[in-house]
């Protein structure tokens, strides 16, 4: 897929096609990681992965989210 470098103020930019942002689930404000391979002269865009610190059990955090979804109706009106 070809794209042109365009001017964005005093910087240079590339517009991402809708099919790319949709496939990658990238919305406005999403943070992405940009990696440059100088030898190959490639640039790679990746979804920024946020890792959970080691001291947290991911199952615990997931259970909280599941509980929130299970009781969404109840929780939704609590601070009204």
């Amino acid at each position: 897929m070809k794209r042109k470098i365009i001017r964005v103020g005093s910087s240079k930019g590339v517009l991402l096609p809708r099919e790319v942002t949709k496939a990658m689930n990238w919305d406005f404000g999403a943070e992405i990681e940009l990696t440059i391979d100088e030898e190959k002269r490639d640039v790679l865009l990746k979804t920024l992965k946020v890792s959970v610190p080691d001291e947290y059990e991911i199952d615990h955090l997931r259970q909280i989210e599941e509980t929130m979804n299970d009781y969404a109706d109840l929780l939704g009106g609590t601070d009204d």
């Binding site: 947290y56 969404a72 929780l75 609590t78």
Partner: protein
């Protein structure tokens, strides 16, 4: 602050972030000192139940829940959704400890709780008589 208390603060902040994302609230901590109070129980105790520590008896659990509910509602540590955060943590803790409870009754209690009229001991007592 102990490492455990710092983890508890981060955990409660995560829960608040979750509910503000889901129910459109203002994100962030309003008062860090109020949040520190929530996880600092008397006698160098900590709010260990929220991280899933198995407590040796229910009396300790009710005492922790009374403290947590009172100071989280009275101190309003977050910018919004303080009571929703409290309720979600409670629902998870009660499920984790496999206690029988009526979620609607607990939600009603949290919604109507007036910290000027009820202290942490009253709240502990309420849990001991409504969750078994």
């Amino acid at each position: 602050m102990t490492e455990s208390q710092i983890r508890q603060i981060k955990f409660l902040s995560y829960v608040n972030w979750l509910v503000t994302e889901k129910f459109n609230g203002d994100q962030g901590i309003r008062d860090l000192n109020a949040l520190k109070t929530v996880v600092s129980l008397p006698g160098n105790g900590t709010l260990s139940c929220v991280l899933g520590e198995r407590l040796s008896n229910r009396k300790d659990l009710y005492a922790q829940l009374g403290w947590f509910v009172y100071y989280a509602i009275e101190g309003e540590p977050f910018n919004s959704k303080n009571r929703t955060t409290v309720l979600l943590v409670l629902l998870w803790v009660l499920k984790y400890y496999r206690l029988e409870f009526d979620a609607d009754e607990i939600a009603g209690f949290i919604k109507s709780l007036d910290p000027l009229k009820h202290g942490n001991s009253d709240i502990s007592l309420w849990f001991s008589s409504h969750c078994s």
